[in-house]
């Protein structure tokens, strides 16, 4: 295994150092490195972050390999600075058995672009009716710790209570896609002044907030760990803040697109802006940013959701929900949180690497850069900027909502378990 020295890079505390990598771990962090290395990389102008960890990725394999595969999705993740992703369970077949979760993890290992953790379904076939074999998935080779019916809400209160209780035996967490199904039948976009004007059926904030309120109370009652996926409304932030103040064991994520894009973009009727939960109002965006800044929202997760072109090149109502986001996540967080003064780089490392790894129990990931730590590293240049071009996304699908936007920053080098996956902004051939 080659050894590397990344020179002139800044740690999150601003200290300028060189980082030596050998045998899969960080060999030294020093302003005057003493080791000898095979290759020297330029880190000037860059900040060194622990490899990013995405708690919410749709890799689409098995079942929708036309949209994404474990190989193409993890490669896109590496390009975005990630060294681990959690693959959501809504594949075909659904990841509701030990067999499927082990397959996904194995495909990830074979691809080698980053570590893949499998999320297990809470209910069989995501149908909400009977519990999937959570224990079998937890004790399988995939070691599943995060369970979610994402794409669908575990709407039945009793099922949610049981799942919260049951996963406690293996330190698991239920990640809820909070959406009251009865309030969102055929819902198309955020319910508010824009939906009123556009004549698109509304997805009201209360449909998310009502489920979150119920679930934090359930988690409190059974003393279990709860995670809320893709929080999108100001009211949800308030409820989670209240729950945390009461000591309830709840964590929450926000997506990059909900931090940046508002429902006014739907005026184009362009389905590249169609996502679930939908883009919300500017007031919601402000509340989400504040919530992420003050720690009410613990992490950023992409909800990377690839779809082939034909699923978006149609009328709004017929289009699929979802946006890709792995390759642009860090830039969007810089634009919305760092350049606005709401977060420093140390806090970004917490919200995009360290804390998601803790929530997902991802051993060896999300470890702050230190001598002896696994060499999962993202070297990021915040001084660059680039206009997002859909065709340049290396995800198999090109459905980025940020197309044409000038986003700050660029990932320069990425190391996964001591091996480079990206060097000088170029993917490493393998």
């Amino acid at each position: 295994m080659s050894t590397y020295l990344i020179k002139d890079v800044e740690l999150v505390n601003g200290e300028k150092v060189a980082i030596g990598i050998a045998d899969g771990v960080i060999a030294e962090i020093s302003s005057k490195p003493t080791g000898s290395y095979d290759k020297v990389l330029d880190g000037s102008g860059c900040v060194a972050l622990p490899g990013l960890v995405d708690l919410h990725t749709h890799l689409r394999e098995p079942g929708r390999e036309d949209a994404e595969t474990v190989l193409t999705g993890t490669r896109a993740a590496a390009r975005g600075g990630y060294t681990a992703v959690f693959a959501m369970a809504n594949t075909d077949p659904v990841a509701d058995t030990a067999g499927v979760v082990e397959q996904v993890v194995r495909l990830g290992r074979e691809a080698g672009w980053c570590e893949v953790f499998a999320v297990g379904a809470v209910t069989k076939d995501l149908a909400g009716e009977s519990m999937a074999e959570l224990g079998a998935m937890a004790h399988s080779a995939a070691q599943v710790r995060v369970f979610s019916d994402d794409g669908k809400c575990v709407s039945d209160s009793q099922m949610m209570r049981r799942a919260l209780e049951y996963v406690r035996q293996f330190d698991g967490v239920v990640a809820q896609h909070a959406q009251d199904p009865k309030l969102t039948v055929n819902a198309q976009m955020n319910e508010g002044s824009v939906s009123a004007r556009l004549g698109l059926r509304g997805w009201p904030a209360v449909a998310e907030e009502g489920i979150i309120a119920r679930d934090v109370l359930l988690a409190s009652h059974v003393k279990s760990r709860l995670h809320i996926c893709h929080v999108s409304t100001a009211g949800s932030v308030d409820i989670i803040r209240w729950a945390k103040s009461r000591g309830i064991d709840v964590t929450a994520e926000v997506t990059p697109h909900h931090l940046l894009l508002s429902d006014e973009l739907v005026e184009s009727y362009d389905p590249k802006f169609k996502v679930n939960p939908p883009l919300r109002s500017n007031e919601d965006i402000a509340a989400l940013r504040m919530g992420l800044a003050d720690g009410t929202i613990d992490i950023v997760a992409t909800d990377h959701a690839p779809h082939p072109a034909e699923d978006k090149e149609c009328e709004w109502a017929g289009a699929a929900n979802g946006m890709i986001g792995l390759e642009t996540a860090l830039s969007v967080v810089q634009k919305t949180m760092v350049d606005t003064g709401l977060l420093n780089w140390s806090q970004v490392a917490g919200r995009m690497s360290i804390t998601p790894a803790i929530i997902g129990r991802a051993k060896g990931q999300g470890v702050a850069l230190a001598v002896g730590a696994p060499a999962n590293i993202c070297i990021y240049d915040p001084n660059q900027s680039q206009v997002v071009v859909a065709a340049e996304q290396i995800s198999k699908s090109k459905n980025t909502p940020f197309v044409g936007m000038d986003l700050p920053g660029q990932v320069r080098h990425v190391f996964f378990q001591g091996k480079p996956t990206m060097i000088s902004t170029q993917m490493v051939a393998r």
Binding site: Q188, E191, G192, S193, V194, S195, A196, R197, L198, G199, L200, R201, G202, P204, S268, Y269, D270, E310, E313, C314, E315, W316, A317, G318
Partner: protein
């Protein structure tokens, strides 16, 4: 009607929001001119000879399709009727493929009726031809609003003028009505005051941003208004508990003889059709002295001629 004025109109007519006050008046004034032709013994103008206009209808609406067809033919255009009912949103040939096909056939304009909101906006992005929205989902129906405004102006306003100071009530299922959305935009653009009357379940969340007043009491509104527009109410809304029964709806919000007597003498009754007689409007009201419902149908042809004339008249070779 000089070419300079023609170029003032937007390229497509997707929403009333695409129009400013002067553009809206230009369409109404042009419709007045063209209405005179409809009264003449020879009803045809050569303006659009050699141009191809496609009626692309993904929903049954015989009256709208016939109205556009008559308008196009009176301007000597070639009309192709393309009915694609049932193929929307389902897989198979997509709206985009259809758009590209029509463009390859040299369509100069596509008149689109579609069950999904925003379909006309999408189509406009895929074709070089002019797109006219003939009703998209629960979004808009701009030519319906234009013919409504034209009809109201003929009775209550002055030729060349707007609707400043007039008060118009729109009654019924505003939430699901493209006619209501286009009319709110157009009538207020022309200076009228608009009051929406409906049960709260049929008024969209977010309506606060509309320049209208809201009432739940039709009997208080009717004596105040210069025109009342009754919207079609679909009885299937009952199944989704927007209201408990058609009988209760009719009792609380329907226009009947007693309510008609609350109207000012000169007040108008409009309905975009097709009517549910006995539900939102009684036969006495639909056929009575206040009703201008049949005039709306006749005026529809003139207004659609004006839209085609203004959008296509000055643009030789678009899409071909």
């Amino acid at each position: 009607m000089s070419p300079e004025l023609v170029t003032e109109l937007p390229r497509h007519l997707l929403s009333i929001a695409d129009l400013n006050h002067d553009q809206a008046l230009l369409i109404l004034d042009t419709a007045e001119e063209l209405a005179k032709i409809s009264d003449a013994p020879i009803k045809k103008l050569p303006t659009l000879r050699g141009r191809t206009i496609v009626n692309l209808f993904y929903e049954d609406s015989t009256r709208t399709r016939i109205s556009f067809e008559a308008a196009a033919k009176r301007l000597s255009a070639d009309v192709i009727n393309f009915s694609a009912k049932g193929s929307s949103v389902s897989k198979g040939e997509s709206l985009k493929d259809t758009a590209l096909t029509l463009q390859a056939m040299g369509a100069d304009a596509v008149i689109l009726r579609h069950p999904e909101s925003g379909a006309a906006n999408r189509l406009a992005g895929w074709t070089n031809g002019v797109v006219i929205n003939a009703g998209d989902g629960t979004h808009e129906h701009p030519t319906q609003a234009l013919l409504d405004a034209f009809t109201i102006r003929r009775h209550l306003g002055t030729v060349g003028g707007d609707l400043e100071g007039k008060h118009i009530a729109i009654v019924g299922d505003v939430l699901h009505s493209r006619v209501a959305r286009s009319n709110v935009l157009l009538l207020t653009l022309l200076g009228a005051k608009v009051t929406l009357v409906a049960p709260p379940t049929l008024i969209p969340v977010g309506v606060e941003s509309w320049p209208v007043q809201i009432s739940y009491a039709i009997d208080q509104v009717l004596p105040e208004v210069d025109a009342v527009m009754m919207l079609r109410v679909q009885s299937e809304r009952m199944q989704n508990s927007f209201f408990p029964s058609t009988r209760e709806y009719s009792r609380l919000f329907g226009l009947n003889l007693d309510r008609m007597n609350l109207l000012k003498n000169e007040a108008l009754i409009l309905h975009p059709g097709p009517m549910n007689r006995g539900l939102e409007i009684s036969a006495e009201c639909a056929d009575g002295v206040h009703s201008v419902i049949l005039e709306q149908v006749a005026n529809g042809v003139s207004v659609r001629m004006a839209v085609l004339y203004l959008l296509l008249g000055g643009n030789i070779g678009v899409g071909s």
